[in-house]
């Protein structure tokens, strides 16, 4: 289980992030990768971004994280222009950034050490985060001893540990099998509900986007721009299996599918 009920209340975020993209475009040399585009991510919402590959979905996340400067326009995070690494966000990608020489526990403690938390709190928070993702008992294991799914949980635990106001997720479950994926969806929804944090979730899986998000943004092909924003008015809390049987789910799927298909 990703999120155990008894533990989650403590991780509620006080100040979820609001993200504003204002006429943002990104060029890599001669390559016009993205934009100009404008988009507002509301504080505390679950926003999914879909689009053809190479349309700059990940670029949007990098802009929020501050690891990539926009070529034009600006990105504001909680009213403040992002101009360097944004430490308020937790960034989870398909890549696993575990340090192989550190145990699972020490990996989860890493951001807390960076942020100069007192030692007692570092230990307590890491232990709690690991329990939350269901990795209690694996504290002393090394990353190379874990499977891909477990490593992904370590990355999530590492992010949970410092309670970021915003979670940026770039196809985090891309490498997992369908069953595990569905389980992770349920757990992610629970995490979102319990923390109240803002989630920006990039995926190319429409099922995933509809299941999780409040709004789904469809991006056009390169240079990527927001092309369509669809409100997903499915009731919450959602059941990741039942929701797919909802007739409205199919309607959303069709709408999004057509929007993407025109891109070819």
């Amino acid at each position: 289980m990703l999120v155990a009920t008894s533990d989650t209340k403590a991780t509620a975020v006080r100040n979820p992030g609001e993200i504003v993209f204002e006429n943002v475009s990104v060029k890599f040399g001669a390559l016009h990768a993205m934009g100009p585009t404008s988009l507002t991510v509301r504080a505390g919402e679950f926003l999914a971004i879909v689009g053809p590959s190479g349309c700059g979905k990940s670029t949007l996340l990098n802009l929020v994280a501050g690891t990539l400067p926009p070529s034009t326009g600006q990105v504001r995070y909680n009213g403040r222009v992002v101009d360097g690494p944004n430490r308020d966000v937790g960034y989870i990608t398909q890549r696993n950034y575990c340090l192989p020489w550190r145990t699972v526990e020490a990996n989860v403690q890493l951001p807390l050490e960076f942020r100069r938390f007192p030692p007692a709190e570092i230990a307590a928070r890491a232990a709690r985060a690991l329990r939350q993702v269901g990795l209690g008992g694996f504290e002393k294991a090394y990353p190379r001893q874990l499977s891909g799914g477990m490593l992904q949980r370590v990355m999530i635990a590492r992010t949970l540990a410092y309670e970021p106001a915003t979670y940026l997720m770039d196809e985090p479950f891309g490498s997992l099998d369908a069953q595990l994926r569905l389980r992770m969806h349920a757990e992610l929804l629970k995490l979102w509900q319990d923390t109240g944090a803002t989630f920006v979730f990039v995926t190319h899986d429409l099922h995933e986007a509809i299941t999780l998000a409040d709004r789904v943004v469809v991006m056009s092909g390169r240079p990527g721009k927001t092309k369509l924003v669809v409100n997903i008015d499915l009731p919450r809390p959602r059941d990741v299996v039942d929701i797919q049987a909802d007739p409205v789910f199919g309607v959303y799927f069709k709408t999004l599918w057509h929007a993407l298909e025109i891109e070819g």
Binding site: G66, P85, L99, R102, F114, R115, F138, A141
Partner: protein, 281 residues
């Protein structure tokens, strides 16, 4: 716990088999060693090659005599001291310079040709110059060892630091890492494999530096003894010196790999014990 099924655990029986195989190899190695020594002795006795090749028994006698005279201990102490200090100085120097030039790319690019041109110089040729600069005492040998070690450790550290995954560094910045954190918690551990390789390769070079220094000019030390014995055509004593040198290099390498295994434990972590530990909690 269901997750233990996800662990890539290797069956325990495989480990036992591996162990037995390794023991078999050890037996063969010991046998081979004994055979070689026996052949050496036999050839020396039968074909009277003692003058050129000495013989294991004569070497043993020479070693014993060397020890009895009390010279062995003083020679060993001196040589080990010179090589040891040289090794430490050279490693620190090579490590620090390698780290800085590897990390600050611009500096590295500027200095690389300079370092390279000194590196390609056969450094043995510098030995006489070192006598001029540092005299014929221990300082000369220390500096010469340090020079040889410096380049080995410098290049591996430089390589290792340049291998550091920049995505990982960017990720660490997001996690809140400051500059110091990136160095101490990402870059240095990341390049540790390389640094240890450098240390392992350079350890014999520390000894080479000292021995060459002692060949050129000295008053004591294992290298000095070997050279002295050569001038008297005392082959047994020369070989005794070589045996001592071999023994100390092997010993030092053993110590180093012990340290390495401790520091790099994550590389050899046993998959089986972890799933067991998880099962009991």
């Amino acid at each position: 716990m269901t997750e233990s099924a996800e662990l890539q655990s290797s069956p325990r029986a495989g480990g036992v088999l591996e162990h037995a195989k390794r023991r078999g190899v050890l037996y063969i190695q010991i046998l081979l060693l004994v055979a070689l020594i026996a052949i050496w002795q036999g050839v020396a006795d039968r074909f009277d090659t003692e003058f050129w090749t000495s013989s294991p028994l004569s070497i043993l006698a020479a070693l014993f005599q060397w020890y009895e005279s009390g010279q062995l201990v003083t020679d060993l102490q001196l040589t080990l001291f010179e090589a040891g200090i040289g090794f430490v100085l050279g490693s620190i120097g090579g490590g620090v310079v390698g780290f800085v030039l590897g990390w600050v790319r611009k500096l590295g690019d500027i200095f690389e040709p300079f370092v390279l041109s000194i590196y390609t110089l056969p450094k043995i040729a510098l030995a006489p110059l070192f006598v001029l600069w540092f005299g014929i005492g221990p300082l000369n040998k220390v500096m010469f060892s340090a020079l040889l070690v410096f380049f080995m450790v410098f290049f591996t550290t430089f390589q290792g630091i340049r291998q550091v995954d920049l995505d990982l560094v960017a990720n660490a910045r997001l996690l809140g890492a400051r500059r110091v954190d990136i160095w101490t918690k990402i870059a240095i551990p990341y390049s540790a494999v390389w640094v240890f390789t450098g240390l392992r390769i350079s350890l014999p070079y520390a000894l080479i530096g000292t021995i060459v220094g002692e060949f050129v000019a000295a008053q004591a030390g294992v290298g000095f003894r070997i050279k002295e014995a050569t001038t008297y055509f005392n082959t047994a004593e020369v070989f005794a010196g070589l045996v001592v040198l071999m023994a100390i290099s092997l010993l030092l390498l053993g110590v180093l790999s012990l340290i390495e295994r401790r520091v790099m434990r994550w590389q050899t972590a046993d998959t089986v014990s972890i799933s067991d530990a998880a099962g009991t909690t």
